[in-house]
């Protein structure tokens, strides 16, 4: 097994502190990371594009501000890798699709703007499953990303490039998007921390939509604290996103170190053996996490989330339905790929047939079908009802429990090519993560032990909407125990 993972990570908070106090320059930090990328990127392929020139200019700008004694943000000099489905002004944004190859947006996503304002150095655009549809990053039009822990394995997906970039030490922080687990599952498979914030907690403006009512942008980091810091930077109300939440919660860091002895934790039995396909070693690690929390004084009980059994079905109707509409605009008229045709319709068809990969086509067709006349009630309508049922399940549980716990991914990283031929097998990877997306709740995956193959295993903490502080608090407790 060839591992590309460094022995030790330098945290974002440490880098920001060193840069802000002038002990080390932002450009020095950047060059160190660029060197590392230079050395290992050809094996990992975490990036669609490393933006060396722009990164150097940004780092120099940060250094200038510091030299002048001006205030810099909490991510001063911190290299950040951004998933290639977030718009970056003047820098190609492709969603790893041929249909958008080379497209340069005329604007920055709100998240990107906030990162820049916080002093971060954006080092590049990371690889993903085309339009974030997948769980292995094998659906990228520009080739797969590999897991830095074992190059023969997938990093998970769809934010596989971001997870791999952090795991490989290319950047201490990466940004991803999570529609059905696309941050947490790759975080789990790559042994890093990954967070899906409350829906509406982080602006989606500038995120290339996959499924608008499920998509949420969030951070990857090497520690819970770093993730919380980045979450604070990118979060908050955005007038450009109608689904953004106006009231902002308190600092995510305030209660990070507080003991958890007053908390009640529910363990989702359906995801601890109740549903087939979740491996024993993963469940074992989750049980170890339970012991840690009990030992720390939390009251831990097994609970039932009955609607969890139907989440996969609901998700694979709702997400494709929204996607089928969101991806209509890629028609060869205004930007991106055009394959000519004798008339408009032929041009549309040629462009989309050539420009989209199989998984994207599959989901567009599935979603089109689910919404079409005569099938809406049977498929899409019913899926929306399952979603309500799930929300009611959660609401009842959160009357009693502060957070819930489950595994993140049903298994450790699998081999490249192992699951590509059967979509259903691939979809099952999302079974533990999907519930949070359907109801818009926050969840975090933190590394917690390894499988027999030596690959990382993650544990997931779920919390009620806007209750990220307690989620980070519990995750931090587990993190301390894992080290």
């Amino acid at each position: 097994m060839s591992s590309m993972v460094p022995d030790q990570y330098q945290s974002a908070s440490e880098i920001a502190e060193l840069v802000t106090t002038g002990e080390i320059s932002a450009i020095e930090i950047l060059e160190r990371h660029l060197n590392h990328i230079e050395q290992y990127e050809k094996d990992v392929h975490a990036f669609n594009l490393v933006t060396i020139d722009e990164a150097r200019a940004a780092a120099e700008e940060t250094d200038k501000l510091i030299a002048k004694g001006e205030r810099v943000g909490p991510l001063a000099g911190v290299p950040v890798a951004v998933k290639d489905n977030l718009c970056t002004e003047g820098i190609p944004t492709t969603a790893s699709s041929k249909i958008l190859e080379g497209w340069k947006p005329p604007y920055d996503a709100t998240v990107v703007k906030k990162l820049k304002e916080a002093g971060a150095t954006i080092v590049g655009k990371t690889n993903l499953d085309e339009f974030a549809m997948g769980s292995s990053t094998e659906n990228s039009a520009f080739g797969p990303t590999r897991n830095p822990h074992d190059l023969s394995c997938v990093p998970g997906g769809s934010s596989g490039g971001s997870a791999a970039a952090v795991a490989a030490g290319f950047a201490p922080i990466a940004i991803g998007s999570d529609t059905g687990g696309s941050i947490r599952q790759p975080a789990s498979l790559c042994g890093v921390v990954g967070v899906k914030p409350t829906y509406g907690g982080v602006s989606r403006y500038g995120l290339l939509a996959f499924a608008s009512s499920l998509d949420q942008v969030g951070p990857f980091a090497t520690s819970v604290k770093d993730a919380a810091i980045v979450h604070e930077v990118i979060g908050g109300y955005d007038p450009l996103d109608s689904t953004s939440i106006k009231q902002t919660s308190n600092s995510f860091l305030e209660v990070l170190d507080k003991d958890i002895s007053t908390l009640k934790v529910g363990v989702i039995s359906e995801l601890m053996g109740g549903i087939d396909g979740i491996t024993r070693e993963v469940i074992e690690q989750a049980n170890k996490a339970v012991s840690v929390l009990s030992a720390a004084g939390a009251q831990v009980e097994e609970i039932s989330l009955p609607a969890a059994l139907y989440c996969l079905s609901a998700y694979y109707l709702i997400a494709p339905a929204e996607a089928s509409s969101n991806l209509s605009r890629y028609d060869g008229v205004r930007y991106g790929l055009r394959i000519d045709g004798a008339n408009l319709n032929e041009m549309n068809v040629n462009t989309r047939t050539e420009g989209f990969g199989d998984e994207v086509k599959r989901r567009i067709m599935l979603g089109t079908y689910a919404l079409s006349a005569g099938y809406y009630d049977a498929y899409y309508g019913k899926a929306l009802k399952v979603r309500r049922l799930l929300a009611e399940n959660f609401a009842a549980l959160y009357k009693e429990y502060d957070v819930l716990l489950s595994p993140t991914s049903p298994c450790t990283a699998f081999k490249l090519g192992e699951k590509v031929s059967d979509p259903m097998t691939m979809y099952v990877n999302d079974v533990c993560t999907i519930p949070s997306n359907l109801v818009g709740h926050p969840a975090i995956s933190i590394p917690f032990g390894h499988g027999q193959d030596g690959m990382p295993i993650g544990v997931q903490i779920l919390a009620p909407p806007m209750k990220e502080p307690v989620m980070y608090q519990v995750a931090h407790t587990l993190e301390m125990a894992a080290q």
Partner: protein, 101 residues
């Protein structure tokens, strides 16, 4: 044996609606794969959902609006260079068959 929830004809129609062209091979492969996914989705039939309100959105918020005040606009040079074909500051498309819906 499971019922076939979607026929090749339906897949072909859906592909047409989505502006996608499928080869014969793709048509049979996608029919089978979409069928498997839809079959899996049949498991929700076990649920009693008649009295459940559909939930299209995770947030209960309402009335998010903006003031009627202008904000900066783009210049044609910001986006026209990205277009596949342009004439006189406008996006050029091939001949359109049929009137607008």
């Amino acid at each position: 044996m499971m019922s076939e929830p979607i026929s090749p004809e339906e897949v072909a129609h859906v592909a047409y609606l989505a502006r996608l062209r499928l080869t014969e091979d793709e048509l049979s492969r996608f029919t089978e794969q979409l069928g498997a996914i839809l079959n899996h989705a049949e498991d929700v039939e076990a649920l009693e959902l008649d009295d459940t309100e559909p939930m299209s959105h995770p947030l209960p918020i309402e009335n998010t609006m903006r003031e009627d005040t202008p904000s900066p606009m783009l210049k044609p040079s910001d986006f026209l260079p990205e277009a596949p074909a342009v004439e006189d500051g406008r996006f050029l498309v091939p001949k359109i068959l049929g009137e607008e819906p």
